[in-house]
């Protein structure tokens, strides 16, 4: 991987995403959601996607719009059902989309594991519940754990606050959420930011996502 490319447009930033891809999409609700990249992905046309994101779309924009276009075959998320998730709800009830519900912390840790080269890990969350059914368990030091596997993305689309020209990223408040872990786990990592600054203008102590993880950046 080389340093990030600063793109001129969201369209350039999402170019080349293939049908059938698994796409990690950052954000918790709308905070940190890379809405402009999703809009560009809708225009770009990739379909038959698996989307990994905490929620399954809000209102009629962003991820919800991608779902409404019928581009998503499967959602992997922790919390699809929200007051404004009517697009997903309709597709789900019509049997037009697959759903894998993953506890929120397992979602984050499985994505981290993919980025960190961990083959699998034993996790105490969900033991004895329907979400652990059929999964391997193991007792360690008197506690029962479920074996969980990494979740990788062909692509990660994330929202951040600022980037420098190398692709070092900082986030803003709780919009940080899934961005930093998804950036480690995508084969192609694209960040939507508010501003691109010159390299050297971000304090090396406060960079959250180092440039090594970032392929493309677009300021919107």
């Amino acid at each position: 991987m080389t340093a990030a490319r600063i793109c001129d447009s969201p369209a350039e930033a999402v170019a080349g995403i293939e049908d059938g891809s698994t796409i990690l999409i950052g954000g918790f609700g709308l905070a940190g959601m890379p809405v402009r990249l999703i809009d560009a992905l809708i225009d770009q046309g990739a379909t038959d996607l698996t989307v990994v994101s905490n929620n399954a779309g809000n209102g009629d924009t962003g991820l919800a719009a991608l779902l409404a276009k019928g581009r998503v075959r499967k959602m992997i998320c922790s919390f699809p059902r929200q007051p404004d998730s009517w697009v997903f709800d309709g597709l789900y009830r019509a049997g037009k989309i697959e759903l894998e519900v993953v506890p929120q912390g397992n979602l984050a840790e499985r994505i981290r594991a993919a980025g960190a080269g961990i083959g699998a890990f034993y996790c105490p969350t969900g033991v004895g519940t329907p979400l652990a059914e059929g999964k391997e368990t193991r007792d360690i030091d008197g506690r029962t754990y479920v074996l969980e596997y990494p979740i990788r993305g062909d692509v990660a689309l994330i929202g951040a606050h600022r980037s420098d020209r190398m692709g070092n990223l900082v986030y803003r408040k709780t919009a940080r959420n899934f961005g930093p872990v998804m950036a480690t786990a995508g084969e192609l990592v694209v960040a939507q930011v508010s501003e691109v600054v010159e390299t050297g203008q971000l304090d090396p102590e406060v960079i959250v996502t180092p440039s090594i993880y970032v392929d493309r950046v677009v300021a919107v």
Partner: protein, 233 residues
């Protein structure tokens, strides 16, 4: 007299030790924040990546990048810190939170929790961070009404709804009583407008009167709630 939501929240707040790190679940448990004593140094965690969360934002304070787990705009306090989701749930799973307060559909006599899914065929399952909190927090307090609107007990021998966690609940705060799950069984700590005997009759689980008061508990409130006849599930 039975407790209002705010009275339940105040009771829970009073039971949280000064200096504790606490996560309040979405919905009713959020009310606990309004009753935490000022100056007790209780620090709120929100699983979407923040410690020392402040009160809900009002008016111009609202910032779409600063929300709680219920996606409500909130505020910072001095000493707040942000972190990403894997770090936030590592904090939770690693047993660093002293208390979490969660709502529930059902709690079993051995502390199993069901609060994420009604199991109905047309319901869309959504778990969020509930299982992580149930498995991770040092102490799990449930805040719920003791009976459904139809009068069905929510404290049950075995949960019939899909589980969130096994044996994870420590205390149950309800409008009619506070229960502590112990090795000796379900201990009734407080009652509100109902007698221990009536509770024992209306609930389908064996109850233990609170250990520091061997004599049967007098009814604290004045009137008995009308209460539908409970169906046993």
């Amino acid at each position: 007299m039975s407790l209002s939501e705010h009275e339940m929240a105040a009771l829970i707040a009073r039971d949280i030790e000064p200096g504790s790190f606490v996560n309040l679940g979405i919905g009713r448990p959020t009310l606990v924040a309004d009753h935490l004593p000022a100056g007790a140094g209780i620090v709120l965690h929100t699983e979407n990546g923040m410690l020392n969360m402040g009160p809900a934002a009002t008016g111009d304070q609202a910032d779409p990048d600063l929300i709680n787990a219920g996606k409500v705009p909130v505020t910072e306090l001095p000493g707040s810190a942000y972190f990403h989701h894997a770090d936030s749930f590592a904090m939770m799973r690693g047993g660093h939170l002293d208390v979490c307060v969660l709502g529930a559909f059902q709690v079993s006599a051995r502390g199993d929790l069901a609060n994420w899914h009604t199991g109905e065929p047309d319901a869309i399952p959504a778990v969020g961070g509930a299982m992580d909190l149930a498995a991770g927090a040092k102490r799990v307090y449930v805040m719920m009404t003791l009976f459904t609107r139809d009068g069905v007990p929510k404290l049950v021998p075995e949960c019939t709804y899909p589980l969130t966690g096994v044996g994870c609940v420590d205390r149950i705060y309800t409008d009619l009583a506070t229960f502590v799950i112990t090795d000796r069984g379900v201990v009734v700590r407080d009652t509100f407008g109902i007698s221990f005997e009536e509770l024992s009759v209306r609930l389908p689980v064996p109850l233990v009167d609170r250990p520091d008061q061997p004599a049967p508990r007098p009814v604290r409130g004045a009137s008995q709630p009308a209460g539908d006849s409970p169906r046993r599930s």
